[in-house]
Structures are given as structure tokens and as C-alpha cells.
């Protein structure tokens, strides 16, 4: 006892700074979502997908706003101009481009489109067109085209300036129409941007339908169980034996083509797969203790479903969403391709691709850009979906 009383003051020293934090929990507690986000960030491909989707949305929303013409503005003088073309030098500052239908377009040296050159003579028997540019007589002789019809790489025309043959000056990118123009002289870039609007609208609608109808349907079916579940799932079985595309086509035929119809058709059919996934999740989750606890505390069925079960099934729901969205975009472009999509002059990527089919051999770029747009969107959603599946899988949590 005596010793206790006489603890020297020097012993009451504060502990060293480093030791002070020893008791603290050094690693912050990470919630499921924080952890998923952290793991998603490490996956470079999914981040790329996420960034690509963000860029797509930005372009689709703001692109058409700042563009100087709309998807339907046409200029029949400037049809089928490719995004990259050869130019010929006529004079010091005068350049022309020969289109695939053997007419001349005046361009600037760095590829701006200045306008169509009016011909002074169009001789279809001897197959040439004559022009007068800057005081020079230009003759576009396309008689070779008929001779070299079966040789794709042979020369098709000659451009003569005052009787002298011109050789290509250089190849330039189209500065006025980045993606070129279509058969009606509409700016393909703007049309692809508007197409992105349609595709993303469809994506958002599909996501909402999946989320509200699919999740609730599956949730109710799984939680109620028994006869309710049986009946609800039989309905899903019946709806899903026939491919969704058939229903959508039938609905489109009945209601008439258009964006509204696509949205309604998707709304009526696209929740089925999600309903199945959520039902499976809820079936196993409802046996958990926290559901029992919530029940004991008197929570209503609705509250248990919305506040307890669905939030806990969110991982698989989100993964399924990122898989359903691209399939909705696919369906829309597929429908537009077979002529059941949005009505002209509005165009979605599928319509653009379908319009480009006719001139595929000569104007392949018209198919290229909408197709690339579809592929990039698909890739972006697929990358994000794969990453999310790994990030939200609790078995892979470290």
C-alpha cells in the first residue's frame, strides 16, 4: 500500500505520440458499396466503360444543342460526301473533290466544303462533264468507269484542266461534315448524335422498367411464396417462352412504328428476366435473421420488401441491369433495322445502318459510323457490367 501511495510524479508522463494511436481501429470500416466502388475503380476496363458511357450521355444531351444544324436539315447539292477524300488543285486557292457519282464539289485546302460546282456541259453519251472554274476549262471524263467496271481498283475517271490531266493533290479530312453526309445531304455526325439520344432514351426506359416492374414483381413473388409465387412465375414462364422480339414486333405492328411504341413494347416485355433474378434473391434473403427481426418489430410486408430485401439484393440487380440495358439498345437498333423503329426523318443507329445498306459498296462510311457507335456503346456497357459483377460479388471481397 505504501508503495502505491508513493508513485513518483515522473511516472505520470503522457505516453509517446506514436503509442497514442495504438488502440484506434486503423482501417476505416468500409461499407459494401464503398468496397464495391473501390474494387470497381481498380478495374481499368470498367472505368473505361464508365467514362465512355459518361461521354456518350454528354454528347447525346449537349451535342445536338450546340450543333449548327439538325438531323433533318438536308442539302441535296452535297449528298454522299465521305469523311475523308482526295482533292485536286485547280488554282492557287481552288480545290475540288470528285464525288463517286462523278460530280465536282469545291473544297478548301484543309477540307472545308464550299459547295457544288455547276457544270457548263453534261454530255452523257461521251461520258464527260465540263466545268468552268477560275477561268479554266475543267473536264471530268468518266468514260473509264464503264470499261473498268469489273476491276474495283482500276482508274474510273480523269480530271483534265485545260487539257492537262490532274493528279490528286492530297487526301484531307472533311472539316464541315466530320462523318460525311448521307444520300440526302444530311450531316451524318449530327444524325449519329441524335441516334445516341434515341438509344440512350431506350436504355433509360429499359432500366426504369426493369427496376420498377421487374424488381417489384420478382420481389413480391419471392416474398409471398406459395400459391402467389406459383401463379406469378407461371405467368413469367409463359411470357418468356416466346422470344421478346416476337412480342415487340407484334406490338409495333399493332401500334405503329415510332419511339413511343418501342418504349411501350419494351415496357410491357422487358421486366421478365429481372423478375426471375430478384425472385431468386428474395427467396434466399427472406430466411435471414434480419427479416425475422423486422417482422418481430412489426414492420409491414411492404416495408420489409422495400427497405430490407430489395436493398440487399441490389448487387445482382445492378449487374442484371447493366446486361439488360445493352440488350434493349440492341433490340431497338434491330427493330429500326427491319423498319419498325423511329419514323423518318428521325433516325436511330439501326435506321442509319439500314439506310446505308443500299449504297454499301460505294459509301461504306455511312454504315461504318452508326455501327461503330453501336459497338462502342455495347462495349462500354459490357465492360462496366463485367467489372460490376466482380466488384459486387461478396465472395471476391477482400
Amino acid at each position: 500500500m505504501a508503495e502505491n501511495k508513493s508513485i513518483p510524479k515522473t511516472m505520470w508522463e503522457p505516453i509517446a505520440h506514436e503509442e497514442r494511436n495504438k488502440e484506434k481501429i486503423s482501417r476505416p470500416s468500409v461499407t459494401y458499396w464503398q468496397d464495391a466502388w473501390r474494387r470497381l475503380k481498380q478495374n481499368k476496363l470498367s472505368m473505361l466503360g464508365l467514362i465512355m458511357i459518361a461521354i456518350l450521355f454528354t454528347l447525346a444531351i449537349f451535342g445536338p444543342m450546340i450543333a449548327n444544324h439538325t438531323y433533318s436539315d438536308q442539302d441535296l447539292n452535297l449528298t454522299n460526301i465521305p469523311p475523308r477524300f482526295e482533292i485536286y488543285k485547280i488554282d492557287k486557292d481552288t480545290f475540288v473533290h470528285v464525288r463517286r457519282d462523278y460530280t465536282l464539289i469545291q473544297v478548301s485546302e484543309d477540307g472545308e466544303i464550299l459547295g457544288k460546282v455547276e457544270e457548263t456541259e453534261d454530255n452523257i453519251f461521251q461520258r464527260y462533264r465540263a466545268y468552268k472554274i477560275e477561268g479554266k476549262d475543267i473536264k471530268l471524263d468518266y468514260s473509264l468507269a464503264a470499261k473498268n467496271k469489273d476491276k474495283p481498283n482500276a482508274k474510273k475517271f480523269m480530271l483534265l484542266s485545260d487539257g492537262e490531266e490532274l493528279i490528286p493533290y492530297k487526301k484531307v479530312f472533311n472539316k464541315t461534315y466530320w462523318f460525311g453526309t448521307d444520300a440526302l445531304g444530311r450531316d451524318l455526325f449530327i444524325r449519329v448524335l441524335y441516334g445516341a439520344r434515341i438509344s440512350l432514351t431506350v436504355a433509360i426506359v429499359a432500366a426504369l422498367v426493369n427496376f420498377f416492374i421487374g424488381v417489384l414483381y420478382g420481389g413480391i413473388s419471392g416474398y409471398m411464396g406459395g400459391k402467389v409465387d406459383n401463379v406469378m412465375m407461371r405467368i413469367v414462364d409463359i411470357v418468356s417462352t416466346v422470344p421478346l422480339m416476337l412480342y415487340v414486333i407484334m406490338l409495333m405492328v399493332v401500334m405503329g412504328a415510332g419511339l413511343k411504341t418501342i418504349i411501350i413494347a419494351l415496357g410491357l416485355t422487358y421486366w421478365v428476366r429481372m423478375a426471375r433474378i430478384v425472385r431468386g434473391q428474395v427467396l434466399s434473403l427472406k430466411e435471414q435473421e434480419y427479416v425475422l427481426a423486422a417482422k418481430t418489430l412489426g414492420a409491414s410486408t411492404w416495408r420489409i420488401l422495400i427497405r430490407h430485401l430489395i436493398p440487399n439484393a441490389m448487387g445482382p440487380i445492378i449487374v442484371a441491369l447493366t446486361m439488360q440495358i445493352p440488350s434493349a439498345i440492341f433490340t431497338e437498333s434491330f427493330l429500326s433495322f427491319i423498319g419498325l423503329g423511329v419514323s423518318a426523318p428521325m433516325a436511330s443507329w439501326g435506321t442509319l445502318a439500314s439506310d446505308a445498306l443500299g449504297g454499301l459498296r460505294t459509301y461504306a462510311y455511312q454504315l461504318f459510323f452508326p455501327s461503330i457507335a453501336i459497338c462502342i456503346t455495347m462495349l462500354a456497357f459490357n465492360f462496366l457490367g463485367d467489372g460490376l459483377r466482380d466488384a459486387l460479388d461478396p465472395r471476391l471481397r477482400k
Binding site: P152, D237, I238, T241, V242, V254, S354, L357, S371
Partner: protein, 306 residues
Amino acid sequence: MGRFLANRIISMLITLFLVITITFFLMHAIPGGPFTREKPLPPKVIEALEAKYKLDQPLWKQYVDYLKGVVTFDLGPSFQRVGVTVNELIAKGFPVSAKIGGGSILLVLLVGIPLGVISALKQNKWQDQVVMVLATLGVTIPSFVMATLIIYIFSSKLGWLPSHGLTSWKHMIGPMIALGGFSLSFVARLTRSSMLEVLQQDYIRTARAKGLSEFVVVGKHALKNALIPVVSYIGPTIAAILTGSFVVEKIFAIPGLGKHFVESVGNRDYTVLMGVTIFYAAFLVLMILIVDILYGFIDPRIKVGD
């Protein structure tokens, strides 16, 4: 087994009945009849046409007649092509479609599965990466883009394949790849992931410990188990190839059922549309039943009786 079959067949029939009912009433809900033209037909002509196609009868009677027709495999005449019945169209178009569709299913299985296995066995090596890049590209390119690319590159630029029609085996290559491309990629990815999972199992270690050759371990023990999820994907594959045929047959100008279907959508030929839809539904339901039965044989853990 018997009870399972009976159950399945009953639910199959209910599904078909509902599909028929839905299509029938949907088609009759369309504003304007099948004879609405830009230039209106004289009322007498319309009356005569309606009488000929029994459209003047009450709706319920038409419905009962149609049901009777379906039961006796008579899907009625085409509204737009004079003198052609829907049955004839199906009889002509389906064998063509089946040839290409069957070919692409074989392609999906015979190429997709080996690719997936190779990729799983060589995980993270270059073979795996090549297969995965191809498989990712395959699920991102829509069938109509794939089809046009094939025509553009192999028919138009290189001249290796014919671009349209269906007269020789060479004609089948393009459509088969375009049709099966998506499913092939999907099957390759599916086989890879399920193979990777199976290779971790204890029984594989046991098989290796017994000193079995790698070929037997992979081919007999691993592959058989890894294929179970692939088998369950065959049903959706058939559906995907069926719907894919709409555009692929249109692009390659193949006179199959898909092309008729899309054309009937275009020129509003309602009876053809209904008939082909019902035929597709019946075909799919039957295929899914067959796959389900096969599934029970392949995986004895699944009792077909359940």
C-alpha cells in the same frame, strides 16, 4: 418422368393457347382492316373480300374458327399474296431457315465450346486473351452489322464468298457466321467460366492424383460437368438464332421463313404474321422441352421428376 412430361406438355399447350389468343386479338385491334389502302377500295369489293376471308362474321366466331384451324394445322390464306396459304409459306421457308439455323447452332457448339475450353486451360496466356477479345467483340457487334461486314469484306472486296442467295455450301458460310456470332461468343465465355470453376473442384484433383492423362481429366471429368450451364443456354440460343434470322435472311436475300416474316411485317400481311408467330412459338416451346429432357439425362443430379 411420365408425370414430368405430362406437366410440361400441358404448360406448353397453355402457353401456345395464350400466344394464339394474344396474337389473334392484337391483330384484330389494329385500326383499319387488312384491306385499307391508300386508294380506298370500293365498298362492294371490300364486302366481297371480307366475305371471302370470313371477316364479316362476329369476332368470337372468327376466333373459334382460327383456333380450329390451328388445331388442324391450317393457318389460313395470306391476305396479300393471292392464292398462297400460310402453310405453304412455312413449308417453303422453314426448311431453308432450318438449314442455316441448324448450321449455325452446330457452329456455335463446335467452335464456341472448344474455344472456351482452350481459353480456360490457358488462363491468362495469350490464347485466353485472344479468345476473350474475340468473344467480347462478338457480343458487341449486332448481327446486321456482322452480316453487312461479311458481305462487304468477303464478297465485295475479296470476292471469296457469294453475297446473296442459297445455292451452294459457300452461300451458307456468311449467314451462319452472322447468325451464330453472338451466341458463339456467349458460349465461349460461358464454357470458359464454368470450366475454370470445375477445374478447381476436388474430383479433378482426385482424377489427376490417380494419374489419369490430362486428356481424360479434361475431356471426361471436367468438360462433362462444365457443359451443364452450356446445355441450358441452348434454348436461348435457338431463340436468338430464330430472331436473328429476320435480318440475316433479309441481308443475304435468303428465301427463308425469317424473310417472309419481316416482309409480312412490312406489307401488313396479318395472317402470315399471326401464322408465323404461332409457328415460331410452337417450335421454340418444343425445342425448349427437348432441351429440358436432355438436361435431365446429362446431369443426373437434376431429377426430371421435380
